[in-house]
């Protein structure tokens, strides 16, 4: 299903980041997407199920959460998972298109990658 992806701050993300970005609190509160309950029902999702989010720039797996957001949108807290989904073109402003990217979402059995798992992929095969 196609959605418009929004990202932003949440209190829980802020609190968890101050505990530490490698903490379980951070993973639980940042690796997630908020969706409209009707969208979740259409995709056969229960709260806490994993969703694969894909854009033309990349993909990630996060847990889903109910929200009163529009059916056409999904919201993710700022963090590495949301940043796997945006491009680096800034149209000469310095600012990437961090809000309003089109994304495809689907139910998945894949698990959410931890910060360490994501980071080890970047470091793998470095020059």
């Amino acid at each position: 299903m196609k959605i418009v992806l929004l990202s932003g701050r949440t209190t829980k993300q802020g609190v968890a980041a101050e505990i530490g970005k490698t903490s379980d609190d951070y993973l639980q509160n940042v690796a997630l997407i908020q969706l409209n309950p009707q969208v979740m029902e259409k995709l056969g999702l229960k709260e806490g199920d994993t969703v694969e989010v894909q854009t033309k720039y990349g993909s990630c797996v996060v847990k889903c959460q109910k929200s009163d957001i529009d059916e056409t949108m999904g919201f993710m807290p700022y963090g590495p998972w949301a940043n796997l989904l945006i491009g680096s073109d800034t149209q000469s402003t310095g600012m990437p298109d961090s809000k309003g990217v089109e994304a495809e979402i689907q139910k998945t059995d894949k698990k959410v990658e931890s910060v360490d798992e994501i980071m080890s992929k970047i470091v793998e095969g470095r020059k």
Binding site: G8, V15, E18, K21, D70, G79, S88, G94, G100
Partner: protein
């Protein structure tokens, strides 16, 4: 030991009424702090960074020596971050960039950078948060969610405080314009749901309607505009809903011009909701030292400002730096993933009190005292008011400013 009137080093509200309790060298409690501020104070020692080179723990001195070697041997270094440290450290970072002929950028670049570009063009009708508290009878939040990001903004400055001429929420009209019904929208008298990516169009139509043109503007915006025209003192607080969405600086430019137009009718101001506690200071310090607030390059021996060319995301995406010094920020967490690989490939140095995602891939890690908790300094509030950060604890590490002045000495030696 109890410290009063401590300035919170988290967000651009820079709340200056925090009470911090220190027992046995640890912060055990805070009063008046929001949930995030409390987490920052109480957990400041958690996940602490240790000095390391290539993942191996070393002495602080060795880590600083290695960092100086990397910077000295770099042809095109990038210095990035600055917004979560104090102004003295920022000044040293700019000096280091000048010596190295480096590119220097601060986190506004992926935050309110477009706001700066907008106001370079349109100007900005400003006021202090004190004026808002005392005088504003109409507060419009556009594309921001202070209930989650600037948690005490409502209570201290805009909605609930007892001001000189506005005594309570009853004497203020609160409007929220956002793409979703946020927690902030729930306390507003008016909530307008805007379609994503249409801010420029809507604000431009509002300007045209204000000038008496017959334009297809939705009724709810016309009603809001009428309130804006007829209030005694209005303010727009705006966030990344304008700067990160399609249009970026043009969205902000339009909002700044709308406020300018409204001053034909009444007193109206506009203030960006700055995120990191001293990101406003990073812009001010860079502007008074180099003439430019972000995205500055010194390779010609003098400062050149060009967003898109010397902004950190672009420099990294185009692989145009061969070393990076990251100060008090976490680009791997906050930048698009395409830029992470280059940071991992080049020798990256991280100066931070805590382990973060960038320190995980960095070649050299230098732990520092947390500014505003373990080091003093100056920070600028979102409205441009400078406040003095307090030191409430000793740190085993040097401050950002001290590490940077050592790096300057070593690079010049």
């Amino acid at each position: 030991m109890i410290y009063e009137n401590v300035v919170c080093p988290f967000c651009g509200c820079l709340c200056d009424d925090i009470i911090v309790t220190v027992e046995n060298g640890q912060i055990t409690n805070t009063k008046n702090a929001c949930a995030i501020s409390k987490s920052k104070f109480v957990n400041h020692h958690q996940n602490a960074l240790n000095p390391s080179i290539g993942g191996q723990e070393v002495s602080l001195e060795k880590a600083i020596d290695k960092a100086a070697d990397i910077l000295r041997n770099s042809q095109a270094p990038l210095i990035y971050g600055l917004s979560s440290t104090e102004c003295e450290a920022q000044r040293h970072a700019i000096h280091l960039a000048e010596i190295l002929g480096a590119t220097i950028d601060q986190t506004a670049s992926v935050c309110h950078g477009p706001t700066i570009l907008g106001l370079q063009d349109a100007g900005c009708v400003k006021c202090s948060l004190g004026e808002v508290k005392n005088r504003a009878d109409l507060v419009v939040y556009w594309g921001c969610n202070p209930a989650e990001a600037h948690m005490r903004h409502f209570r201290r400055y805009s909605v609930f405080p007892e001001g000189m001429f506005r005594k309570s929420k009853k004497e203020r009209e609160i409007a929220v314009v956002d793409v979703r019904k946020t927690t902030s929208a729930r306390i507003a008298n008016t909530f307008i749901k805007i379609e994503p990516g249409t801010d420029f169009e809507v604000i431009s139509l509002m300007r045209a309607h204000l000038k008496g043109r017959d334009v297809p503007l939705r009724e709810e915006y016309k009603t809001l505009l009428e309130k804006m025209k007829t209030c005694e003192f209005g303010i727009i607080f705006f966030g990344l809903g304008l700067t990160m969405s399609k249009g970026k600086h043009l969205n902000v430019n339009a909002a700044l011009r709308l406020v300018r137009d409204l001053n034909e009718y009444t007193k109206f101001s506009i203030t960006p909701m700055r995120g990191h506690y001293n990101v406003a200071g990073a812009g001010s310090t860079m502007a008074w030292v180099t003439g430019y607030p972000f995205a500055v390059n010194f390779s010609l021996g003098y400062p050149v400002h060009n967003p898109g060319e010397f902004s950190a995301v672009d420099v990294l995406a185009r692989k145009e730096c061969d070393a990076a010094l990251i100060i008090a920020s976490d680009p791997v967490s906050n930048f698009p993933s395409e830029t992470w690989k280059h940071l991992a490939d080049i020798p990256t140095i991280v100066m931070d009190p805590k382990v973060n995602l960038t320190s995980k891939i960095a070649h050299v890690c230098i732990p520092v005292a947390t500014a505003g908790i373990e080091a003093e300094g100056t920070a600028y509030r979102m409205d441009g008011v400078p406040l003095r950060l307090k030191k409430v604890l000793d740190s085993p590490w040097l401050s950002d400013a001290d590490v940077l002045s050592q790096l300057i000495e070593k690079v010049m030696a």
